[in-house]
């Protein structure tokens, strides 16, 4: 006789995905079966010939499904290169990337396909200024024609409302604040239920207060959605606050130097920031980043 209760749900709601083991770094992470990323020996050069620069050198990362993986490193260390390769924007020169065991790019497949299973939230935001907030949010499913239009708009409205963005539906992005734009863009990405959400310093241009609000909003939507999050930042506190693991990268060429497991439970709140454990982790990360920043500085002097 099989043990365990029947998973009852309201009539008409879709069946939940099969339950998988949460990743080791965060036992509280939403249960997911999609979104495990393996980067194996990624190599990327910039430029050609003698003057080419090694941007990423045999970088390997193993990211579990449903994890918030934060990458911290000095400017220009090649973090964005990894993200671009994951998204399918640029090819790697060597190495491979797998998503849930399937080859995204590597030998025999130069570039990963661009698709709605991996959605990028850009550094300066890429909401379409010619579409209203509602049209932006509905864009992905509308392009794929997956859902009837009325139902789709209704769902987009609901998602916006859940993110506290009701009232902005008919505004154009140009009419809203940068904080609202960022939130809308994250809602737009999550509307597609991506396996992986790729964020490239999305909160860089925001003021401290808005940034703090964005962190909590992101954690809330992450907990609801549970996509694997690949998050690039400079900001160590941001990294530790958001991440289940934080990878500190070496300065050029880019490779993981240390990977910290953040053993603080979600949902994290403002109180987390003042906790002793949080401070310890930030200090640890800061030391590692500082060394790399010095290396990068020395490298810059040599080149200059």
């Amino acid at each position: 006789m099989t043990a365990g209760a029947i998973a009852w749900r309201s009539v008409g709601t879709p069946r939940a995905a099969a339950v998988v083991r949460p990743h080791a770094a965060d036992p509280d992470a939403p249960l997911r079966r999609r979104g495990a990323i393996q980067i194996v020996d990624a190599v990327k050069y910039y430029g050609v010939g003698e003057s080419r620069v090694l941007a990423v050198d045999h970088c390997s990362l193993d990211i579990s499904a449903g994890e918030v993986f934060v990458v911290v490193g000095p400017s220009g260390c090649g973090k964005t290169t990894l993200l671009n390769a994951l998204a399918g924007f640029h090819p790697l020169d060597a190495g491979s990337i797998h998503l849930d065991g399937e080859l995204l790019c590597g030998p025999g497949r130069e570039k990963a396909p661009i698709g709605s299973d991996r959605i990028v939230v850009f550094q300066n935001g890429a909401l379409f200024p010619w579409k209203t907030v509602l049209e932006n949010v509905a864009f992905g499913p509308a392009m794929r024609g997956a859902i009837p239009r009325d139902e789709l708009l209704e769902r987009a409205r609901r998602r916006l409302a859940e993110a506290g963005l009701q009232g902005y539906e008919q505004s154009y992005p140009g009419e809203t604040s940068s904080g609202v734009k960022r939130r809308v863009e994250i809602v737009r990405a999550l509307m597609n239920d991506p396996a992986v959400l790729l964020l490239d310093e999305p909160f860089r241009a925001l003021d401290a207060l808005t940034k703090a609000m964005m962190h909590e909003a992101l954690i809330a939507s992450y907990l609801r959605n549970g996509s694997t999050v690949f998050f690039i930042t400079h900001d160590i506190e941001e990294a530790v606050f958001l991440g289940s693991r934080v990878a500190i990268m070496t300065s050029r060429p880019c490779r993981p130097k240390t990977i910290l497991s953040v053993d603080i439970r979600y949902p994290r709140s403002r109180e987390t920031v003042t906790s002793k454990r949080f401070r310890e982790l930030v200090a640890e990360a800061t030391t590692a980043v500082h060394e790399e920043a010095l290396n990068a500085y020395a490298l810059g002097e040599k080149e200059g």
Partner: protein, 429 residues
């Protein structure tokens, strides 16, 4: 009638066929459906045990459930699709164990909802209405959007008229005109400066223009005046439309396709600098009649202005928008339709305004060389026939028409790119 997914509809039909539920009113059945839950079982999985209190009526959708009386020698009962179980438990009988034989799918209805429905009470009408997306919100959205668009347009036009009159802007404009016409008057008539004294004076021109019996035969009271205006307007209109119809697609092609650009752009850049008058002989050779060469000459410059601006518009689109659209699953055609076209629109509209301007530019040149009507023709023949005030009437009329038609193009354009107008109005302090 609300639209339901097919399998939910199937469950509803299934419920309606269950004995005891078949005589329920439609709303009551909806309430039952709303309270119902579905679930799947594996082979051998327990639905409920003999000691559990059972609070639901179960309907088998697929598979088979074995019902056993614990401590009874009676043969187990098996229920299949469309049949119910657990009901007698509701009636207070206990000691039954329900087990799945093979994978099954079930629907269950809570006791309370069932009793409520059977008692003939209307279910929960509000919550039933909630998930049904009728046409109402869509209509509301459309009107709200139209209203927002209208407000944006008004805002872009500089708010209401009263506010406009309070600001210094209209007075500065009037003063600008006054300075221009004033210096004309002073230079030509009051002071009669050297060289300027050969020109027709403003009073002379205005007098001629408004005269019922004009000395040189052309004023606002003569039908010829409107014939000339009409024929120039028609030519410019046709040329503008043709230039737009050709220029926008070619500009989009130049911007969006590298291959197309490699083929076309060199030729485009070779022909673009050739001045309009240089085209006149060939135009007259190739096109028969008087109209066609003029329209051709008029549309040339407009075409280049429109195509070049459209091309620049496409190039101006940040590549992140294209990447974002592709990330969200857009096909290349959808990227073109939803990113390239709307993204280049502000540039296209600037191009159309320039295009309208240069159309008037070129038509004067074209009409001077051929044709029997039109303002360019008026200016040219007036020169040869020494009707100097009429030349100026022709020039001013060209100016006014060019000004008005460009303004119309701009207003239509602002209506098309409401988002840009609203963005700009936000930037204004």
């Amino acid at each position: 009638m609300p639209q339901r997914p097919a399998h939910v509809q199937a469950i509803r039909v299934g419920l309606a066929n269950v004995r005891g539920l078949s005589d329920l009113r439609s709303e009551a059945l909806d309430a039952v459906l709303l309270a119902a839950e579905e679930g799947e079982t594996d082979d051998g999985q327990l639905v409920y045990g003999e000691t559990e209190p059972v609070t639901h009526l179960y309907v088998v959708q697929n598979g088979r459930i074995r019902l056993e009386r614990v401590g009874s020698s009676a043969e187990p009962v098996r229920v299949g699709p469309g049949q119910t179980f657990g009901r007698h438990v509701l009636a207070g009988v206990r000691g039954e164990r329900a087990t799945s034989e093979g994978p099954s799918s079930l629907v269950r209805i809570p006791e309370a909802a069932l009793l409520e429905a059977l008692a003939g009470k209307p279910g929960r009408p509000q919550s039933l209405q909630a998930p049904i997306g009728g046409p109402a919100p869509a209509v509301e959205g459309a009107t709200r959007r139209a209203r927002a668009a209208a407000q944006g347009l008004l805002r872009s036009l500089g708010g209401n008229a009263l506010q406009c009159l309070r600001s210094p802007a209209p007075y500065r404009r009037l003063l600008g005109y006054a300075l221009f016409f004033g210096s004309w008057y002073l230079a030509v008539e009051a002071w009669a400066l050297p060289h300027f004294n050969r020109l027709p004076g403003i009073t002379e021109v205005v007098h001629e223009w408004l005269s019922k019996d004009p000395t040189f035969g052309l004023s606002i009271y003569t039908p010829e005046y409107y014939a000339h205006i009409g024929s120039s307007l028609r030519r410019v209109g046709i040329a503008f439309l043709l230039a737009t119809a050709a220029g926008v697609p070619i500009g989009l092609g130049l911007g969006a396709s590298t291959t197309f650009r490699e083929y076309v752009f060199p030729v485009f850049e070779l022909l673009r600098p050739v001045p309009i008058p240089a085209w006149i002989p060939l135009a007259i050779l190739v096109f028969s009649g008087a109209e066609a060469p003029i329209v051709f000459l008029t549309l040339l410059a407009s075409f280049f202005a429109t195509a070049l601006n459209t091309f620049l518009g496409v190039r101006s689109i940040d590549s992140k928008y294209v990447l974002a659209a592709r990330c969200l699953g857009a096909t290349p055609w959808q990227v073109f339709r939803h990113v390239i076209v709307p993204g280049s629109l502000p540039f296209v509209l600037t191009g159309l305004q320039i295009s309208m301007g240069v159309a008037w530019f070129s038509i004067a040149a074209a009409e001077m060389c051929s044709g029997q009507f039109g303002l360019g023709y008026v200016i040219n023949t007036s020169y040869t026939m020494v009707k100097f005030p009429t030349i100026v009437i022709g020039m001013l009329t060209l100016g006014v028409l060019g000004f008005l038609t460009s303004a119309i193009v701009r207003l239509l354009g602002e209506r098309l790119v409401v988002w840009r107008a609203r963005e700009l109005s936000m930037e204004r302090p």
